[in-house]
């Protein structure tokens, strides 16, 4: 018996560790636990990027209609990730700054940083340049739900705000209050 990588129906390549039965149990040895959780974190972020998922909740370990099903369950070896273990993985992710609790003030749901806010800022800036939307006022809706799908489609507003704030630091964005909410104006910027 040996453990091998496996492609899922959605085209994601599960790492070989996913076919190892003990992968689904929280490890009592601190060193081992750190190693195994690192594998989980890599897997979760990789899958989130693949499916463009931004939110992960403790409940995703149990829900049978969860988008995470093929990651949190392995029917072939009859193992599943327990909510208590996912809870602990989420805490580790937040401590490593690859996720934040969202909404803040609770610890059962996170916003995933498979791209850091700094990276999203550059993605946003590049998108505005390539689509010729510099210097015009854009509503958040126009960014999160553009007519032509973009890398920013469905980006949570929390993350978008952070990206805009980062661009503002280098004079590349300006937050604007408009009639029906908020908007942003993006600029070429100087230095970069």
């Amino acid at each position: 018996m040996s453990f091998s990588p496996l492609a899922t129906p959605t085209g994601f390549l599960l790492p070989s560790v996913h076919s190892a039965p003990p992968f689904f149990t929280q490890q009592p040895h601190p060193g081992t636990n750190a190693t195994v959780q690192d594998h989980w974190i890599t897997l979760i972020l990789g899958y989130a990027r693949h499916r463009k998922l931004f939110v992960l909740r403790v409940e995703d370990a149990e829900a049978t209609d969860s988008e995470w099903l093929e990651v949190f369950r392995n029917e072939r070896i009859n193992r599943k990730l327990l909510p208590s273990y996912l809870f602990s993985i989420l805490a580790t992710m937040v401590s490593k700054n690859v996720a934040i609790y969202e909404p803040p003030g609770q610890t059962r749901s996170v916003l995933l940083y498979w791209r850091l806010p700094e990276e999203w800022a550059e993605v946003l800036h590049q998108w505005a340049i390539s689509t010729g939307q510099l210097n015009t006022i854009l509503t958040f809706y126009e960014i999160t739900d553009p007519p032509i799908p973009s890398p920013l489609s469905n980006i949570p507003v929390t993350l978008l705000r952070k990206a805009i704030a980062i661009l503002a630091k280098t004079g590349r964005s300006q937050l604007i209050t408009i009639a029906d909410g908020e908007g942003v104006r993006l600029f070429q910027g100087t230095g970069k």
Binding site: M1, S2, F3, S4, P5, S16, V17, A20, P21, P22, F23, F24, T25, Q27, P28, H29, G31, T32, T35, V36, N78, R79, K80
Partner: protein, 250 residues
Amino acid sequence: MHRRGVGLAAFDRQEQSKRSFAVLSAQLSQAQVDQLHAQLNQFRTALAHFATTHRDSIRRDPAFRHAFQQMCSSIGVDPLAGPRKGGWWAEMLGLGDWQYELGVQIVDVCVSTRERNGGLIEMEELLRLVTKLRGISGGQITEDDIARSIKTLQPLGVGYQVVILADGRRMVRSVVKELDEDQAVVLAIAQLQGGRIVEDMLISGKGWTQGRAKAALENMLLRDGLCWLDEQDEEYGKAYWVTSAMKWDM
């Protein structure tokens, strides 16, 4: 009875013969030293000749290399020993560098797989990964070469050691940790099971008491980090997986 001279003249005579003996002995040892030098030179020339004709075979052909190592040990010469960096044997054969290079590759594999196997790797697996690392041009290597390289790593004091299990299987340990006898038994069984082991295998298979089986497994899990715990085992509810016995396709 031997006649001994008496008086001052006899004293002189004795002194003189002592001197002549000293001269003679000096001459003799000088001759011996010269002869030894000549022999050494001859040996050196022969070795240089051997090195130029066989160096490639030694580095490429594991069987030839093994025969050469055996020859060296039977005449009491360590091909790597010497006052200089690798000794002049090693320098002439290029075997020192070859051996150290292999050592570095072994360390590379051991360190990069440590988080997976807790610092204990099966010899076969190590050989497979080192061979992969060296590529095709590196020439073939054997378990014997690996064992020898590990010996050269010993002065570094990092605890690299070949551990032999009860069933004769060899494993390489890259962490400073003592494997006790019970753990060796656990390892041997886990090897056969693809890594999985439960208390019952030790109780019914080896006649251990439940306490002993539990202690051995919990120590490996909690103290040494050599196992992963599985709390969803279908048969027993709780199983231990010895990471070094788990086979991974990368």
